[in-house]
Symmetry: C2
Subunit: 308 residues, 2 copies
C-alpha cells in the first residue's frame, strides 16, 4: 500500500461484517472499505473481499482486478456469469482454516468411534454401562477429496491410529473399491458440476457394512451440494448409515422444518467446521497481497477449468 | 508355558468376564482359568489376572507370585492389607490403552473447544447460528499428571495446535502458576493419598478465567477419588467452571440419583476412557510374561512407595 489509500469492497454474506471491519481497520488502516450499497464508488474498486457475493454484484465493478474469496468454496462466484472469466480469484485458505477443519473432522470421527451418541443417550437415561470399543486401528476412515484440507485431516487421523485412505477424482482407484473399505466416510470435496449430488443412496450403500461400528458413518465438512439430503435421510432411516455429522446442507441456513435437526443419529453444526476467524484471515490475505506487490505468487488461485 | 498347564485366577469386577475368557482361550489355550468361587484350588494359583479384586481375595492365595492388574489404577490392590507387600504387581498399560485414553482426551478437549455443547443445544432448538471460535493456539490445555498417558495426550493435543502445559507432583512448577494459565484442565492422575480430593473448589477457582471459552473446563479421565464431586458441582453451578467431561467418579457406578447425570454442562462416560479391549490386553500381558520367562524385565511394575 506504500503510503497510499486503496478502496476495497467488503461483502461477507452470513459472516460477521463488524468483525471483518475491525480486523481490517486494525491490520490495514489505509484500506478504505465500502459496501455493496456505495454504488457511486464502484469505479474505485480494484479488489473485492467477498464471501458468497450475490449474483451480479462483482460484474458491476468496472475496474476490478482481483477477487479475494474469504473461505474455501468459490461456487457462488463461478456460478455468476457476470464475473469476467479473466479475473484472478484468490481463495483464502490459511493454515488456520486448515487446522480448523482438521479439528472438526477429528472431533466428529472420534465422536462416532468412541460411541458418544450411545453414551450420551445412556447419560440421559442414567445408565452406567461399558460398550465394546475397538481400537482406532480397527477402523478405516475414507476421505473423499484429498486437497489441502483432506491431507491435513488424514495426517491427524493417522496419528491417532486410524487406518486412513483417500480418494480424489484425479486418482487411479475406483470409487467402489474405496467405499467398500470405508467405515467412516469424510467428505471434504469442493462443489463442482462433478461432485454435485455425488453422495447418493447408491454411493452410501457401497460403504463397508462389516466394520466395528456396526454400520458406516458419514461426515460432511465439504459442501452441502455434494450430498442428496433425501438420500442421506433414507440411508440413516433404513440402517444403511449408523450416524452422520453434517456441517453443510443443500440449503443453508438449514430450514427449520428439516428432518435433520431432530434426527437421533445426526449431529448438525451450522457451517462452522472451517470457521474463518476474521483476524487470522485478514493477516493471511494481507500477506498474500504483500507478496503479490513485490512480484511473488499468490497461492492458491482458483482454477476455473477444474471448477475450484 | 513350554507345554505345561498353568492355573490362573481371573477376577474382573465390572468388566466382561466372557470376553476375557474368550481372549485367553484363543491366545493361551494352556492357561487354566479359575474364578474366586473355586476356593479349593487356590493353592494352585501363582498368577492372578485382576481388575478391582474385592479386599481379601488375593490374600487367600498362598502361592501367589505375581498380580497382573488389567488396567492402570492399582488403588484397590494397594488398599488391601491382606496382599503381601513383596508381591510384584504388573500394571498392564499397553500402547492400546494409552492411545485409547489419548483419543478420549482429544475428543473431550475438541468437544468443548469447538463449542459442541452450545451447537448441540442450538440443534435441539433448530437454530442455525455461527459462534465465534478461536484457534486451538489461543487455548492452553493443562495436564495434571504427566506419566505415559499424560505425555501421549500432550503430544496429540500439541499436534492439533493447542498450547499444552503439564504438571506433576515431582516437577518444579508451583501448582497455582500452572492453574492460572490453564483454560482446559485435563486430569490423568493416579489415585494416591496425595491426589485424593485434590480437585477441590479451591483448586478450580485458580484456573484461568480470561480464556477464549469464557470459563475453564474440567476433563477427568484419571480417577474419581481425585475430585471432590460436590466441589465440581458447586463450580459448575456458580460459573467457576464452564463445563466438564467426567469419565470417573468418587462412587462407581455413578449412583442413579447423582446430579451429574442431568447436569446441562456435564458429559458423563462410564469409566471407558481407557477401555481395556480383552484381546489387545491379553496379547500385551502374554508378551510381558514371555519376556519375564526368559529373564527380561516386565514393565511397568507398580512402585508401592509412590503408590502407583
Amino acid at each position: 500500500m506504500r503510503g497510499s489509500t486503496m478502496t476495497i469492497l467488503l461483502h461477507v454474506t452470513g459472516m460477521d461484517r463488524a468483525a471483518w471491519l475491525a480486523a481490517i481497520k486494525a491490520q490495514a488502516p489505509r484500506l478504505e472499505v465500502i459496501s455493496a450499497a456505495d454504488t457511486d464508488r464502484f469505479a474505485e474498486i480494484r479488489r473485492a473481499w467477498v464471501w458468497k457475493p450475490p449474483a451480479g454484484l462483482l460484474g458491476q465493478l468496472p475496474n476490478l482486478e482481483l477477487i479475494i474469496n474469504l473461505a474455501a468454496g468459490v461456487d457462488a462466484i463461478l456460478a455468476d456469469a457476470t464475473v469476467p472469466k479473466h479475473l484472478p480469484i484468490l481463495r483464502a485458505v490459511d493454515p488456520n482454516i486448515t487446522m480448523r477443519m482438521t479439528e472438526w473432522v477429528v472431533l466428529q470421527v472420534l465422536f462416532h468411534h468412541r460411541q458418544m451418541p450411545a453414551f450420551m443417550d445412556q447419560q440421559k437415561q442414567r445408565v452406567w454401562r461399558e460398550l465394546p470399543q475397538k481400537a482406532a486401528s480397527a477402523l478405516t476412515v475414507g476421505i473423499l477429496g484429498m486437497g489441502v484440507l483432506g491431507q491435513s485431516a488424514a495426517r491427524a487421523l493417522a496419528g491417532l491410529g486410524f487406518k486412513v485412505i483417500g480418494w480424489s477424482r484425479t486418482g487411479a482407484q475406483p470409487l467402489n473399491e474405496f467405499l467398500g473399505q470405508t467405515d467412516i466416510l469424510v467428505c471434504l470435496l469442493p462443489f463442482t458440476p462433478e461432485t454435485k449430488g455425488l453422495i447418493s443412496y447408491e454411493l452410501l450403500r457401497q460403504l463397508n457394512r462389516g466394520g466395528p461400528l456396526g454400520a458406516p458413518v458419514l461426515i460432511n465438512g465439504g459442501r452441502g451440494g455434494s450430498q442428496i439430503g433425501a438420500d442421506v435421510l433414507r440411508a440413516l432411516n433404513d440402517g444403511t448409515l449408523g450416524g452422520a455429522s453434517l456441517d453443510v446442507f443443500e440449503t443453508e441456513p438449514l430450514p427449520e422444518g428439516s428432518p435433520f435437526w431432530s434426527h437421533p443419529k445426526v449431529i448438525v453444526t451450522p457451517h462452522v467446521a472451517a470457521y474463518s476467524d476474521p483476524e487470522a484471515m485478514t493477516a493471511h490475505v494481507l500477506e498474500q497481497l504483500a507478496r503479490h506487490e513485490v512480484g511473488g505468487t499468490m497461492a492458491p488461485l482458483v482454477d476455473r477449468a477444474r471448477g475450484y
